[in-house]
């Protein structure tokens, strides 16, 4: 039997109604398992339930029903053991801006029971590993966003946890800082036995960092597997047709649907996506039928399946659309 470092079974969590908000079912029977030593990417748009899952697994919040075990411990009954086994890097920067990098790390290490000397040694190691040594004695408020984020990850590792939670680690970072952090997180998976749960709404980030992916939508896992296997399940290529005018009456949809070897057509505004057996033969056919009916087209692109297509396949809408929908809600 495979030892699961993380295990969630049928988690349900509803936030009570506020003055302005209706009650929100954040998790709706979420179930997944992560073997030891794996980087699991929890991928979904804002509001899909990723952070709620992390908060329950880190003992910050409690599920209404369902069970979860972290590093073998029950999150409800063995909170103290869970807390000692995990590192948590919240969405927002978690360092004390008034303290220096070293002071932050030493305090955190000592809270977990390291002696002063051990905590200082460990702080030095981590600062070096994250290229922050020369800033160790500067107050965190003088750090750049990227440096603060690296310190946050270091804070999560001070006590050598078994499981590390990274809640949207690169949100708000500039591209350079993001690439830098990706390198650091990529190196973490080499750490002996460390299991990482990474939540993200960046497809690229999930593709790049996660050994295993779970796609979350409306508080449920809708697909699970390695990024490669998820993509491999999608046959053929995907074709995106950008129209000049939105396909409001469904004419274009019908036209393209009649072509051979074309399926899974989704229209969002003036973008039509379809799955085709062979991109090279489908594109000319698509263009021909559109030209025949004088439908103006801005662009046609054909691509190998991406995680975006995987998302589309399992949730019925594109990732971008799902994010917009949540923001509007």
């Amino acid at each position: 039997m495979v030892t699961h470092a993380l295990e969630a079974v049928d988690l349900v969590k509803t936030y009570p109604a506020g003055r302005k908000n209706p009650p929100l079912r954040a998790l709706d029977g979420l179930t997944f398992g992560v073997p030891e030593g794996i980087v699991l990417g929890l991928l979904g748009p804002n509001g899909a339930g990723k952070s709620t899952t992390v908060k329950i697994l880190t003992t910050l919040s409690r599920a209404d029903s369902g069970t979860a075990r972290v590093a073998g411990y029950d999150v409800n009954r063995e909170q103290d053991q869970v807390r000692r086994s995990i590192g948590y890097v919240p969405q927002k920067s978690s360092s004390d801006p008034m303290a220096t990098g070293v002071e932050n790390l030493v305090l955190s290490g000592r809270i977990y029971g390291l002696s002063r000397a051990d905590a200082v040694r460990r702080a030095g190691e981590l600062l070096e590993r994250f290229d922050l040594t020369e800033f160790g004695d500067r107050q965190v408020k003088t750090y750049s966003g990227g440096m603060q984020r690296k310190l946050d990850v270091a804070l999560g590792l001070v006590h050598r946890p078994r499981v590390l939670f990274l809640d949207e680690p690169t949100t708000g970072l500039d591209p350079e800082a993001r690439a830098d952090l990706w390198n650091e997180v990529g190196r973490l998976s080499g750490d002996e036995g460390l299991t990482v749960l990474l939540t993200t709404h960046y497809l690229e980030e999930a593709d790049r960092l996660a050994g295993q992916l779970a796609i979350v939508d409306h508080g449920k896992i809708v697909a699970e597997g390695t990024p490669e296997s998820l993509k491999a399940e999608l046959r053929g290529d995907s074709v995106h047709v950008e129209l000049v005018d939105p396909d409001t009456d469904g004419t274009v949809r019908t036209l393209i649907g009649q072509l051979a070897g074309v399926g899974e057509i989704v229209v969002e505004g003036n973008v039509l996506r379809a799955r085709v057996d062979h991109g090279a033969t489908a594109v000319p056919a698509v263009l021909a039928v559109l030209e025949d009916k004088a439908v103006p087209v801005t662009a046609v692109t054909v691509s190998r399946p991406s995680l975006d297509d995987v998302y589309l396949r399992y949730t019925g809408r594109s990732f971008r659309e799902a994010s917009l929908e949540r923001e509007a809600a």
Partner: protein, 272 residues
């Protein structure tokens, strides 16, 4: 299944209890305070105005028949000490709000840190501020002409009760911070309660010449208990039973609100 047990050595266990965590957390806040010494000076502006301006404006009130003290500045100073402790500790919760606005609070609460230590550590640093303020406010009062017969014990009692006011209302402020999670709400609530706490008391005026209903309200006012204990202890012939009784009320109040505010962490976690 293979349980990933972390068998901590005994030394590490000792380092992760309430006392150890209180020390660590207090260290964090004291260090932050030490880096901004100007903040304490800033909080002294108000008591200085009260003492110097009101001490002068109302020095005639001691002539009202029944007023027990012969010097208004001497009467006013211990009260202003308690008022300063109250006003400053009202801001205590803003440190928690700042931690919540960043991810510091969530990181702490996902760690095995003792919740009591998280609260007590912050309150110790708050009480240290009160201690420094009490000494400085007294210095201003004495410079303005206040004189006391009570001696060292009187000053010591004043310092201890002022620190209790700081801890008690500091923990209330922290609890409100955990419950409301909003800076504006915290400040609003504290301003709303600090005014009646100051004026429904014997801080400004001898109860003997105050309206009856004010004296009734003052009986239930922890800030007044502190002011009475301090003024009595500083008097030439202190009524020690009154000092002890009012100090005991204050200690009980501080312990109860301290315990309640530690419970507020649970409420906060329920809402995250």
């Amino acid at each position: 299944m293979t349980a990933l047990t972390l068998d901590l050595p005994a030394a590490a266990q000792r380092r992760t209890g309430f006392v150890a965590h209180t020390r660590l957390i207090a260290g964090r806040w004291l260090r932050a305070q030490y880096r901004q010494p100007a903040l304490i000076a800033f909080t002294l502006v108000q008591p200085a105005i009260w003492l110097l301006l009101f001490g002068q404006l109302f020095k005639g009130v001691v002539n009202i028949p029944g007023f027990s003290d012969s010097s208004y500045i001497a009467f006013l100073t211990p009260g202003i000490v308690m008022m300063t402790a109250l006003m400053t500790s009202g801001w205590s919760g803003t440190t928690f709000i700042a931690d919540m606005e960043r991810g510091v609070m969530d990181r702490m609460l996902a760690s095995p840190v003792s919740r009591g230590g998280l609260m007590a550590g912050q309150l110790i640093s708050n009480a240290t501020t009160t201690l420094i303020q009490t000494i400085l406010v007294f210095a201003i009062g004495i410079a303005a002409g206040a004189r006391y017969d009570g001696g060292a014990v009187g000053y010591l009692v004043t310092i201890v009760v002022s620190m209790l006011v700081g801890i008690g209302f500091g923990s209330l402020s922290n609890a409100v911070a955990l419950l409301t999670r909003q800076q504006e709400a915290l400040i609003g609530i504290f301003q709303f309660v600090s005014l009646p706490l100051t004026f429904l008391s014997s801080i400004m005026i001898d109860p003997a010449v105050a309206p009856h209903w004010v004296n009734v309200a003052a009986k239930f006012n922890p800030v007044d208990w502190a002011a009475i204990a301090a003024r009595q202890a500083l008097a030439a012939n202190p009524d020690w039973s009154s000092v002890l009784r009012h100090s005991a009320y204050l200690l009980a109040f501080t312990l109860v609100v301290g315990w309640l505010s530690t419970r507020a962490f649970r409420t906060y976690q329920r809402s995250v």
